[in-house]
Symmetry: none
Subunit: 536 residues, 2 copies
């Protein structure tokens, strides 16, 4: 294969996390989630972001109405081709798609003759006509059109002529991309490569896409097999989200395409190699949004992906890491982990201190003390990876840079559910916080939507001379994770705050008591804010 930037062929990435990924069991995106994920994908350099199915449910309709601002990705709507027995102009589904604020429209159509009969109950010709008219309507409306050929590979095996006819029809009608979907996920790589190659004799490979599912643990391999067969668009999702066993995992595919041959030399992606170190963070951010623990064993981005357990490999690895790592961990924003080495811990801490702008000598005994403290806290369940403000606070405390602004004397929180005098059902939450600033005792009470809200309001109600420093603090996200469910559970709370500058940062609290864990995170946030503002 040829090399050199000028001769590299474009290879396009199409993300369907927000559409097919929304089918994942246990996944329930909010509008804010969708907006945030679209921004992550856009930052990464994904070419197309499929936002959902406007008109099919209120959330997706709303998401298109409030179209997220994207710097580079093409925002794409998904929907069905027109129904048989009406024209595209008279199909409300098509009208809805054309009125959605999107640059591209993906239509899905069956390409397996059997399913056209059984599931649609129309003729094969009507199905082809639906493809032609839908694509033409989108093109006429100035949109880029894609066709997802549903069940393409099963269809091709049953009736190659008809499956091919669907693909050719879409291309002839003006579809920019004809996407071959392995809807049931059961096709194997050698079949995918062979069939895509056969199709590419009728529809140019530069217009062919692959949409693979992971039902045989082959979605990533199948995507590459399709590229080898000639396809030039890969559809997938972040972290392989998706119905059943998931879709092709873009987080695994992108580094392989950028770092490994023949792909790296043969293709040009919109994801830049300089952007690739964002990948680990993007993958983990999605997990955080979904309140899932990231998969430690995930290729490229998992915490264990470059970890070596004590043993024969560890010392050799330290001599010559390159021969024990298939790619450099930092190329994807990950880190090498040697689980026996305290040295590694210390260098991590030093790197973190440098990142937050604290310069301290490596031999300073306070660095060792901080390392010990971090280890102890992490053993209790604290996680500083996602709680930058709490880490900085801990570090600066050990370095003696954080004043004692106030002392908490006590708090209590009360939640009550009862019937009121008129027989209506009420839930009330109330909190009281008593604290001491200098010699002064301040006691505040507040009611809230729930116990944590009440506590937050009471704590921030009167901070005496510090009140002015915290007035722009806003709680923007509250996340809870319970470890080892049951009676010996430990609860970790992460709270994200924003301030007037737009900056956001996160604090952490851990306790067997969810209220106490939340209170710790709230306290850290206030203390961090006072420290940053230079309060004395």
């Amino acid at each position: 294969m040829t090399s050199g930037a000028t001769t590299r062929e474009p290879l396009t990435l199409f993300d369907t996390t927000l559409r097919d990924g929304a089918q994942t069991m246990g996944v329930d995106f909010s509008l804010a989630d969708k907006t945030r994920i679209a921004a992550l994908l856009d930052d990464l350099g994904i070419d197309y972001i499929e936002g959902g199915y406007p008109g099919a449910n209120p959330l997706d309709t709303d998401f298109f109405a409030k179209r997220p601002p994207l710097r580079q990705a093409r925002f794409t709507a998904f929907g069905m081709t027109k129904r048989a027995g009406r024209s595209a102009e008279n199909d409300p589904g098509i009208a809805g798609l054309l009125s959605a604020d999107a640059q591209a429209i993906t239509f899905v159509a069956k390409s397996w003759d059997y399913q056209v009969h059984v599931a649609l109950g129309c003729t094969l010709e009507e199905n082809l006509d639906g493809i032609t008219q839908s694509i033409a309507a989108a093109v006429k409306a100035g949109r880029e059109a894609l066709l997802d050929c549903e069940h393409f590979f099963d269809g091709y095996k049953a009736n190659p002529a008809y499956a091919l006819e669907c693909a050719k029809t879409a291309y002839a009608a003006g579809a920019r991309w004809v996407v071959l979907c392995d809807t049931n996920g059961g096709t194997l790589p050698h079949e995918i490569e062979e069939i895509v190659r056969a199709v590419s004799e009728h529809v140019p490979g530069s217009a062919l896409g692959i949409h693979a599912h992971n039902d045989t643990e082959m979605a990533v391999a199948n995507s590459l097999a399709a590229v080898r067969g000639g396809a030039r668009q890969i559809q997938g999702t972040l972290n392989g989200l998706g119905e059943r066993c998931g879709n092709a995992n873009l987080v695994s595919l992108i580094p392989t395409l950028l770092l490994k041959e023949p792909y790296a030399h043969k293709f040009k992606l919109n994801v830049a190699i300089e952007t690739l170190p964002l990948l680990t963070k993007i993958s983990h951010t999605l997990d955080e949004l979904l309140n899932r623990s990231p998969n430690r064993h995930a290729p490229y981005v998992g915490a264990s992906a470059f970890a070596t357990k004590a043993g024969i490999h560890a010392s050799a690895l330290m001599k010559e890491p390159k021969t024990y790592e298939h790619v450099p961990p930092e190329s994807v924003g990950n880190k090498r982990r040697l689980l026996v080495s305290d040295q590694a811990g210390k260098s991590n801490i030093l790197a973190e201190l440098q990142r937050i702008g604290v310069s301290v000598d490596a031999k300073d005994p306070r660095v060792t003390r901080l390392l010990e403290e971090v280890k102890q806290k992490e053993a209790l369940g604290y996680a500083y990876e996602g709680a930058d403000a709490s880490f900085e606070l801990l570090a600066r405390r050990v370095l003696g840079e954080v004043p004692d602004y106030f002392d908490i004397e006590r708090f209590h929180v009360n939640v009550e559910r009862r019937y009121d005098a008129r027989g209506a059902f009420v839930i009330a939450s109330e909190a009281v916080v008593k604290l001491k600033i200098g010699g002064e005792i301040l006691i505040s009470a507040a009611e809230g939507e729930g116990p944590v809200n009440a506590l937050d309001l009471a704590l921030r109600k009167d901070l005496g001379k510090y009140q002015g420093f915290i007035s722009d603090l806003q709680l923007v996200d509250y996340r809870v994770r319970v470890f080892q469910g049951g009676t010996d559970a430990v609860t970790r709370v992460l709270i994200e705050f924003s301030e007037a500058s737009g900056e956001t940062w996160t604090t952490v609290g851990v306790s067997s008591n969810i209220i106490e864990a939340s209170f710790q995170a709230l306290l850290d946030a206030i203390t961090y804010k006072l420290m940053k503002a230079g309060a004395k």
Copy 2:
């Protein structure tokens, strides 16, 4: 490819869960675990079970001393080839391996010239001599010998002649199997197939094995690629356990080999198709032993592997499941699931009702009412796909099958943090629940680890005549998710309970107040249990 049982070629499966799988981060097998896992593998019909490295650590030495009883698998010891500068007879490592009670011995040797120099510090010839002597010693001692060629593919790319020489040397010395290892896991399928094919011109494919790692999410695909290149042994682990991103997942490979072409017709495995339905249970049993939640999205065996959320697919799926499932779920011991979700249609609801044993006519107006209620609840943030018990309760309520066991008059929960009389810091949680059963008022109070624990204890302290029905109820998991972080947050709580029978089920509660959401889930659990027990 030819078909028919008589002409099928043998394809051998080699499991290394107990050796390479033991390198998994967070995995720490006990002797009992190892014995149990060996039995599972033997039941399944795996050809070789690699038990560990006798002599390298007390656990493995012990495991070989107490060799597990196996019906069909060959028990295999793992160790290094002899060191340079001594004969095989004088190498204590070799002596230890030969004295271990095993039918086969896998030696590992480097096959990358660079690593022979850097990691071993011996000559290339000494390394080859180590292979010859070690294999010969095992054969002489009446053992079947295997050679794991470490870093084979990286080595082959760097110096094909030397890598090949290692393989040929082992075969010439009498190794039954020469296993090509992708130790760093970075090789891609097309390279694996090509290199294995090249090697098979020098060592017969019927003596070649593949040992793949999942660092690019290709371990399963790489194993099949090696088989296509001529290899006839696949090494892997249950659930893909293993260092970093894991080894090739036998749980994904076995059904593909048995159920999909060309493999099913071309090869004869020792795993029988009649045994395959054990697979889901075996996979989940391993997770239980390791105290992990099974991966819901695991190919073939995951809880979601045959689950459908989408309404449009659900109705077609019920008409003709075969065209929506790449293999029948029962072939691997799994089940079809139609999920209730905000995309739910009536057909999902009907299928769910059928699954939980409620027979109701599709035209019964109560089905429509249930659908409406599910949709409303889901709009509030409820999610029934993970809360089977709450769904069943809701359904049976709409059908009029659930008695009003009791009424909650009120509850309150109090959490307090203060200093006690001796100046020590205390956190206390207390709950009071008042309820009415028939005409009787029952009021109970309890202290707990946190507010939810206190509430749970108070609620279950005295249920009057129903107390006996709930005595075996145990809270095993508590999960919280907060949507739309900030002040207008909605909290969803999922609680999993187990009962004496070992059965577990999950309930859901939603509120802007985390205590109220938890209380709803607790209430549902008790009501569900009473209903199931037939309490009146």
